[in-house]
């Protein structure tokens, strides 16, 4: 389904893929894109076990960024169901394995939130703010974390 072997491996291992092609029967594409509010291709949605959308990627991305987004989505699914240890591990995987991706600063932010929510440890937020003082300093996520400096 995906030409890149790493993407194919991740998709096969973690997901059940469903493809909707714009050239599918009009009623299929119209019905599904309207129901899921999709206005453009490519758009990739990650749905949780109950079919609820948890993550959305709109527009083409190079392989490394796409992989990072898929892993970010998996982390968000875990976070949403309150599996904060798993979420922290998955967010960390994004930062460690795809440090140059756009997803990495977002993941770094949510590592701190996951640890705070999972363990009630407010120092995780301050630690995250400190981490942003040396990494991804110009990102929007660094600004968001800046409020935790005194935490």
């Amino acid at each position: 389904m995906y030409p890149d072997e790493r993407v194919e491996r991740l998709v096969t291992f973690e997901f059940v893929p469903i493809r909707v092609h714009v050239r599918d029967a009009d009623d299929v594409y119209a019905h599904v894109s309207q129901r899921l509010n999709v206005q453009w291709t490519p758009t990739v949605l990650i749905l949780d076990e109950d079919g609820i959308e948890r993550h959305r990627v709109e527009g083409f991305l190079p392989v490394d960024d796409f992989l990072a987004q898929l892993k970010l989505g998996l982390a968000r699914v875990a976070f949403q169901r309150g599996a904060f240890d798993e979420a922290e591990r998955r967010f960390r995987q994004v930062v460690d394995e795809h440090p140059q991706s756009e997803a990495a600063p977002e993941a770094l932010y949510w590592i701190g939130v996951s640890r705070y929510k999972g363990q009630g440890d407010a120092s995780a937020l301050a630690e995250t703010a400190r981490a942003f003082s040396t990494r991804y300093t110009d990102s929007a996520w660094a600004k968001k974390a800046s409020v935790w400096r005194a935490a």
Binding site: I18, A25, G51
Partner: protein, 35 residues
Amino acid sequence: MTENGIAWRRDAERALGEAKQHQKRALVDFTAAPM
């Protein structure tokens, strides 16, 4: 709904059921790339 539409819906429902059964997530890929 056309036969294609009915078939697609059946496939999508099967995929969502499979995702739930195996505790996987569903990846819905809207694409215009050549098949």
